[in-house]
């Protein structure tokens, strides 16, 4: 009897330790990735990396200034497309809609959110590249913007719903209309959450490569305006990593470090903004 109990306790202790080991393995991957990138990329980051164009094939040196600018342009335009639609769509779901419409919209948003990013790329190609006959910054932004819509929409809705009903009723009782209640009371009460949602959506698409492969394509030079193919950091990492040149590998490490650093920083900032707020749900 006691032997059996001891055995059961032993099993319990062992299995619980194993779960701890699992958690340790999972978390350590993050530090391995970070450490490896810092180790390999840290030495390759220099002023040239941020200011110079890629060197011609066969020459060493050069940088990724055009890719950094390209990524910034892509993200700017994607935000301008994705955030307003997602945000106001979320406002509609939380404040105006009946359950039938809300269900359909939510379902479509989840479908869009769950679609593999390469499929979004195909769609953007079919709509924004094929008819015009050329790759462009616009098409790349369109693909990334599409991916931002469902994330922004669902999170906006969630954070607006978390605003207590009493706030709305108080405002309405003072004679404010529905729209002014939403604009002056509900949205300010939820703005931290919404800001977080937008930042996270931005961080999510900032590293996307697959939708850019056949929309923004790539470019070894500057891409003036919005109508030409453009380089971007993720696509640069992809092509440089698979290239046979040692010097390109070095730059890919640097680009990986910059990209990951930015994405993790945005995630941490978003978390800080959220944790300073009060009446917001965990996302």
């Amino acid at each position: 009897m006691t032997g059996r109990l001891r055995w059961r306790k032993l099993v319990s202790g062992f299995m619980l330790t194993m779960t701890g080991v699992c958690a340790l393995i999972a978390v350590s991957v993050l530090f391995l990735i970070l450490g490896y990138l810092v180790y390999n990329g840290g030495t390759s980051i220099n002023w040239e990396f941020f200011t110079k164009l890629p060197a011609p094939v066969g020459e060493t040196g050069g940088g990724m200034a055009n890719a950094i600018a390209g990524s910034a342009k892509l993200l700017l335009l994607a935000t301008l497309l994705g955030v307003p639609i997602g945000f106001f769509g979320g406002v509609y779901l939380a404040e105006f809609s009946g359950s039938q419409v809300a269900f359909t919209v939510r379902y479509a948003a989840d479908l869009l959110n769950g679609a593999p990013s390469i499929v979004i790329g195909i769609f953007a190609f079919a709509v924004a590249v094929h008819p015009f006959g050329h790759f462009s910054t616009l098409a790349g932004s369109f693909a990334l913007g599409l991916m931002m819509i469902p994330i922004t929409l669902r999170n906006t809705e969630e954070f607006l719903r978390a605003v207590p009903r009493a706030l709305r009723e108080g405002s309405m009782a003072l004679g404010a209309g529905k729209w002014s209640t939403i604009v002056r009371v509900v949205i300010p009460a939820a703005y931290r959450g919404i800001l977080t949602a937008i930042l996270l959506a931005l961080a999510r698409v900032a590293g996307e490569t697959a939708p850019l492969l056949f929309t923004a394509l790539g470019n070894r030079y500057w891409s003036p305006g919005w109508n030409q193919p453009t380089a971007s950091l993720p696509v640069m990492i992809y092509t440089y990593a698979l290239s046979p040149y040692e010097d390109w590998h070095r730059q890919a490490w640097a680009a990986g470090l910059v990209l990951l650093g930015l994405i993790l920083a945005v995630n941490i900032v978003a978390r800080v903004i959220l944790s300073r707020g009060t009446a917001v749900p965990r996302s």
Partner: protein, 315 residues
């Protein structure tokens, strides 16, 4: 009169706001419908030419204009299966630790790190996979597997480093955060009395967790697995960089292969001729439908758990 018209004008303002926000919400539905429609319309040629045999043919020959999706479907399924075999035990183990054992002080920061892991772009996973995991597999893991389990057809053949097994490994690392996050959430929602009742009956901590809490959350955990599977099937960059990119069907996991997403990524811009391009788009459609079904199942499973959880709580 004046005040009434003022009020009614305000109401009109509300109506305009309602309409404007509705248009935004409706555009999401429109985009999704358009997405499916475009994929369907733009894949008409291969659908008519090959019909169902598209999925059963092994030949992928752009020059002869013969397109069969079987090697890609095979590669996608095999890599996803390998990924789940590795990721599910690890992910659920870690989720149990985070939800059941670790105090909130430890659990929340750890969960934050896991969330950060989920935010790492897939191209970075592919990059590290290519430079770290591939050599590791070639020099150590694959030879070791061959030595110990070489009698199985799974672990035979030359070890190149790139291939199904490596792609599965990298995918596993990528989907573990999803399994952990969702499973932890589901485990945390299991009512406290379930645990206490088990412990009061003399169960050890592990027995209460494994025989009471986990079965209670079973549907939700299944949901997290479907979610991970959907991610693994649709993952592009990381797989493209480590799978080897040759359309082969082989019992050996060491063999290099190809996946649906990878072939689209590699060949889309080089596709000459409408039939070639549209065959790739049809592959995209297949991928979309697969993830659509899996995501639906995942949501259903998670809904089941939370329903049941609250139902029990009220009783």
């Amino acid at each position: 009169m004046a005040s009434r018209s003022f009020v009614s004008r305000l109401r009109e303002g509300d109506e305009i706001a309602r309409l404007a926000t509705f248009l935004c919400a409706a555009s999401v539905v429109l985009i999704t419908v358009l997405l499916v429609f475009e994929l369907w319309r733009q894949s008409a040629l291969p659908r008519h030419k090959f019909g169902f045999s598209f999925f059963l043919t092994r030949v992928w020959d752009p020059i002869a204009e013969q397109f069969g999706a079987l090697p890609f479907i095979y590669g996608t399924l095999v890599t996803a299966a390998v990924a789940l075999i590795i990721a599910v035990p690890l992910g659920i183990g870690a989720a149990i630790f985070l939800a059941e054992l670790a105090p909130l002080r430890l659990s929340d920061p750890l969960q934050f790190l896991i969330d950060l892991l989920a935010a790492v772009p897939s191209v970075i996973y592919g990059f590290l996979g290519f430079f770290v995991v591939v050599p590791l597999m070639r020099e150590w893991i694959e030879p070791a597997l061959k030595k110990s389990l070489g009698f199985l057809p799974l672990f035979q053949g030359p070890a190149y480093g790139v291939g199904f097994l490596t792609a599965g490994m990298v995918l596993a690392i990528m989907v573990i955060p999803y399994i952990i996050s969702v499973s932890r959430e589901v485990l945390l929602s299991v009512p406290r009395d379930q645990r206490e009742a088990a412990l009061a009956l003399g169960a050890t901590r592990w027995e209460s967790t494994w025989k009471v809490v986990v079965p209670f959350a079973r549907a939700g955990i299944m949901g997290s697995i479907f979610l991970a599977l959907a991610r693994a099937l649709g993952e592009t960059m990381a797989v493209t960089m480590v799978i080897g990119n040759t359309p082969t069907i082989s019992a050996s996991l060491f063999s290099s292969g190809y996946s649906i997403a990878a072939v689209i990524a590699n060949e889309f811009t080089e596709a000459t001729g409408d039939l070639y391009l549209q065959s790739l788009i049809e592959l995209g459609l297949v991928l979309f439908l697969l993830t659509f079904i899996l995501n639906g199942l995942a949501r259903l499973m998670m809904l089941l758990t939370t329903r049941r959880g609250t139902g029990m709580g009220n009783a």
